[in-house]
């Protein structure tokens, strides 16, 4: 599932954090690659990696490059078992150097919900871009949908997790307190 061992990545993040503390300007200069396809997600706010002035813009390929996972689950909003594929939320947070605070997720219809960074854990929520192997249109709650593995972890079968499962996601505002 994961191309890079998490411990090494964790070390990298720690190193980045350390550099950010003592040599912020240099780190700030480290930019993400530019999106080549249609931009599906814009991240704003307290992030360390950017590619569009203070923001970070992602196409599906860029998201996919952060690491891709799949799981099967049922949801209250679908009929039958679904397979969701996407980037784990914690991978995105890592990529952006976010370790704490909240992610204010905003949908295309201006639905918004706050997801604490502490939710971004291994085997936790993902930003899905494939449902049952196919990209999702707006009519199918796409193109991005934050999905928790409800069936794998019962703790996620709660109103809080359901409310944080935002579909038609287009933007994330990071607030590091």
């Amino acid at each position: 599932m994961l191309a890079v061992p998490s411990s090494i990545l964790a070390s990298a993040i720690l190193a980045s954090a350390a550099l950010a503390t003592f040599a912020a300007p240099i780190v700030k200069a480290e930019t993400l690659s530019m999106p080549t396809g249609q931009v599906v997600l814009t991240v704003t706010g307290d992030i360390f990696s950017t590619n569009q002035s203070a923001n970070a813009e992602f196409d599906v390929e860029m998201l996919k490059s952060l690491g891709e996972v799949s799981f099967e689950t049922t949801t209250p909003w679908t009929d039958g078992v679904q397979t969701f594929t996407g980037v784990p939320l914690y991978r995105l947070a890592e990529a952006l150097g976010v370790t704490e605070g909240t992610l204010n997720a905003v949908a295309v219809n201006d639905y918004a919900v706050e997801v604490p960074v502490s939710d971004a854990v291994e085997d936790g929520p993902i930003i899905a871009y494939l449902q049952n192997g196919s990209p999702m249109s707006v009519r199918e709650k796409g193109p991005l949908w934050i999905v928790y593995p409800y069936d794998l972890n019962k703790d996620y079968q709660s109103e809080v997790s359901y409310s944080r499962s935002i579909w038609q996601l287009i933007r994330v505002d990071v607030n590091a307190n």
């Binding site: 949801t75 209250p76 009929d79 219809n109 707006v138 079968q157 409310s163 579909w167």
Partner: protein
């Protein structure tokens, strides 16, 4: 257990309920449904805004906005149509209808929205019109959200209520269970406390029983170690409790029982088989701390406590019981043996007595038929011999009986053993000739003087000579006497050349009532008492007797006696001899005497009278003690012969009455006649005033000897008993004057006469002894002051009798008191008439 199961079940149920509440399978339905109407309104608003512009410059951008709104609305309808959380809603008929119409709208325009901008733009008014038509449906779906909310809240409330109800019920049940458990615990505690108290009471009671038990109680474990030990055991075995506990039980097992004890304990350990346990009382021996072994009675029990076996022994010292049993057995054996011996003796004696009796009877028969005086004299001599033999036997039995009672009276004198032996040998020489035996006497080494009872010594030697003669035929008998140097002992030996005695019989021949065996008793007649009496006599004299013998060759009997101290003859004044042959007495010429003979048996009286008259004495007879006292008060006698054993007033009492009277015979010698004379009797006789005792049957020789030794008035009262009235009167007159002295004597006279009167009245007998004694004592004091010694002595005797409760003696003295007073009064009157200048 059931309770626990119920609680567990209920708890699980409630937890399940709570978990159901925690897990939610539906998102916020009301919100989602409400969003449908909102999205429809947003689509309508966007459409209207675009249509209002009419000629749009930026057509594409506007259309993109409308397309987005359509897509979002589309996703909303799809959500309700497909989402599993809406499955229940979809079954509602009205909702289903609404969904159909909304889907129809989407189906109608989806191709158009996906198509080219121009076609879409052209249809915008139409779309707007259709959206307008959908508005009531959007409202209805929104209201559905309200309905759903109400229902959902209701369900949720009921579910929570149910869960809380379950919890409440569980709490109640828990509380009840808790109460029940508490009640059970309280009951259990109560029961345990009660049981503990009961156990404690039982334990302390048991402790008390054990501690105060008279039996030793020892508890030991299976290894034979003492684990408890009570106070009685401490006393019984001498070991302290602290020292005994932890020690092996073999502590109290004597050495000779230890091997058996070890084997027994091993057997119990190996097989559990017990020999002593539960067998009731077992007699054993136990070991005291000081090493003594004593008999015990033990009962042993075993019990099991906490899985380990222990033994409890109750042990009682039965030393006393065993000792008593042993003594009883010995006493019984002795009694049986004695009974046997006495039966044998009776047989022998009967035989021995029958022989001379037959002789006497035969001789009497012959005497009756015989006319010739010479023949008569021979028969009389035969009768006399037989009678003497009989008497000898009876004397032997009496001596033995006295010896049995431990009363052999000894009257030691200075004796020349050579003289005594020679005299004995000579007296026997003739008798021995009948058996063809010669007798010799060797006394060269004999001491010149020994201090012994000659009568008893003579009896012993005679017995030995007689014995030797019985068992020797045509042999020689040697009598010897030696001093044993350095030991202050004299040894007499009687040696014969007779049949001898078997060694096994050497000890037995000295036993009482034994003739050795049948053959012996045939060879030699005899009561079998001779040697036994000899031994008793020798032992009484502080000596030893023994025998050496060789069967077929002869026997040697020896007697060892202490030589004794040198004593003056005069110290012995009371003689108790009657059968002592005194040949010299025959030659004594006794002066004629006036004799009072007091004897109740007429035959004895006759014999004594004849003997006295033959010797020229005059005799007055009294037939009993009372008559004797009366006659003695009338006229003086030279001698009074007093039988001791008489009915009513016996000889001793009569004598004391005569002595205490003021009659003419108060100083006259009184001879007692008695068949028995024990040492304590001699003392009693002497106290009563008896001068000499003659043993019955009376012989002329003994009587003659006693009379010849008598001096008139030899028995004299002590001077303390003499009256001192004239001297006292004279002294009182000298010191107080005649009038005062006379006054004193008058008041004494009144006092005395008052008492005399009082004692003769009926009331006197009703007074207590001490009152009577006190009254007599008071007058005795007065009599003492005035020198009326004799009267005072009578009063003192009377007082003594009252104090000792001897009313018979007191009554006797009372009789004399009046007489005594009349004498005293005469003396006083005599003094009064004396001239004043005395």
């Amino acid at each position: 257990m059931l309770c626990m199961a119920t609680i567990a079940f209920l708890a699980k149920n409630v937890r399940g309920e709570l978990e159901n509440l925690a897990v939610v399978s539906v998102d916020n339905l009301q919100w989602t449904i409400g969003q449908t109407e909102l999205e429809l309104l947003l689509l309508q608003k966007t459409l209207r805004a675009v249509l209002a512009q009419k000629a749009l410059a930026d057509n594409a951008a506007s259309l993109a906005k409308i397309r987005l709104r359509f897509d979002i609305f589309y996703s909303r309808i799809r959500l309700i149509a497909e989402g599993q959380q809406f499955a229940a809603i979809r079954k509602d008929v009205r909702t289903a209808e609404d969904l159909l119409r909304l889907n129809a709208f989407l189906d109608k325009y989806t191709a158009m929205f996906d198509g080219p901008d121009s076609a879409l733009f052209a249809h915008l008014p139409e779309i707007e019109a259709d959206v307008e038509k959908l508005m009531p449906i959007g409202r209805e779906v929104a209201l559905l959200g309200v309905r759903l909310h109400a229902a959902e809240v209701e369900v949720e409330r009921q579910s929570i209520a149910l869960a809380l109800g379950g919890i409440g019920l569980l709490a109640w049940i828990l509380a009840l269970v808790l109460l029940a458990v508490i009640a059970m615990l309280v009951a259990l505690f109560h029961r345990i406390t009660q049981s503990e108290r009961g156990t404690e009471v039982a334990r302390s009671r048991l402790q008390t029983v054990i501690a105060t038990s008279l039996d030793g109680i020892i508890t030991a474990n299976r290894d034979g170690l003492i684990i408890d030990y009570n106070g009685a055991a401490e006393h019984l075995f001498g070991h302290d409790k602290s020292a005994a506990i932890g020690h092996g039980i073999d502590l109290i097992v004597p050495a000779h029982l230890r091997p058996a004890h070890v084997v027994g304990m091993e057997r119990v350990r190996q097989s559990g088989e017990k020999n002593v346990v539960g067998r009731g009382l077992v007699q054993l021996e136990a070991l005291h701390k000081d090493g003594t072994v004593f008999p015990v009675e033990m009962s042993l029990a075993s019990a099991i406590l906490d899985g380990s076996e222990f033994f409890v022994g109750f042990i009682r010292d039965i030393s006393d019981r065993v000792k008593f049993e042993q003594e009883l057995i010995e006493a019984r054996d002795r009694a049986l043996e004695g009974k046997q011996a006495k039966a044998e003796f009776l047989t022998t004696m009967s035989h021995e007595m029958r022989t001379p009796l037959n002789g006497i009877l035969g001789a009497i028969e012959l005497l009756e038929a015989e006319k010739s005086r010479a023949h008569q004299a021979r028969f009389v001599a035969a009768i006399k011999t037989s009678a003497r033999l009989l008497l000898h036997h009876v004397n032997g039995v009496l001596t033995m009986a006295r010896a049995e009672a431990g009363r052999i009276d000894l009257f030691p004198l200075n004796v020349d053993p050579s003289d005594l032996l020679r005299e004995l040998v000579e007296s026997q020489r003739h008798a021995l000739k009948a058996s063809g035996n010669r007798i010799k006497c060797h006394t060269d080494a004999a001491p010149g003087r020994i201090f012994l009872d000659p009568l008893r010594l003579r009896q012993v030697i005679l017995n030995l000579i007689g014995n030797a003669n019985k068992f020797t035929r045509n042999g020689e008998i040697l009598v010897e006497c030696d001093t044993i140097p350095g030991a202050d002992l004299v040894e007499f030996r009687v040696i014969d050349t007779g049949i001898g005695i078997a060694h096994e019989n050497l000890e037995r021949i000295f036993e009482e009532f034994r003739t050795l065996d049948a053959s012996y008793s045939r060879t030699a007649e005899g009561s079998g008492l001779g040697l036994a009496i000899s031994r008793r006599l020798v032992q009484a004299m502080g000596g030893e007797i023994g025998v050496d013998s060789e069967p077929g060759e002869g026997s040697l009997f020896w007697v060892r006696l202490p030589i004794g101290p040198v004593v003056e003859e005069e110290a012995i004044d009371l003689e108790l001899r009657s059968d002592k042959p005194d040949s010299k007495g025959l030659q004594h010429q006794v002066r004629p005497m006036r004799v009072l003979l007091v004897e109740d048996n007429h035959i004895n009286r006759l014999v004594a009278r004849e003997m006295l008259i033959r010797d020229g004495h005059s005799v007055l007879e009294a037939h009993d003690g009372r008559e004797g006292v009366r006659l003695a008060g009338i006229q003086p006698f030279d001698v009074i012969l007093m039988d001791i054993s008489m009915p009513e007033l016996d000889g001793v009492t009569a004598t004391s009455l005569i002595r205490e009277s003021l009659g003419p015979n108060r100083n006259t010698p009184i001879f007692a006649l008695t068949a028995h004379a024990f040492p304590e009797d001699a003392e009693r006789f002497r106290e009563a005033g008896i001068t000499t005792t003659l043993i019955k049957p009376l012989s002329s020789a003994a009587l003659r000897a006693a009379l010849s030794a008598t001096m008139p008035g030899k028995y004299v009262l002590t001077s303390a008993e003499e009256s001192a009235i004239p001297e006292t009167f004279a002294n009182l007159v000298a010191s107080l004057g005649r009038e005062a002295a006379l006054g004193l004597f008058d008041s004494f006279r009144n006092e005395a006469e008052e008492l005399i009167q009082r004692v003769s009245s009926q009331n006197w007998a009703a007074e207590t002894d001490s009152v009577r004694a006190d009254a007599v004592h008071k007058l005795a004091g007065s009599a003492s002051v005035l020198g009326a010694s004799r009267f005072r002595r009578h009063l003192q005797l009377l007082e003594r009798d009252y104090r000792a409760g001897q009313i018979d003696a007191a009554t006797r003295h009372l009789v004399l008191l009046e007489e005594s007073w009349s004498h005293t009064l005469a003396e006083i009157e005599g003094c009064k008439s004396c001239p004043a200048e005395v």
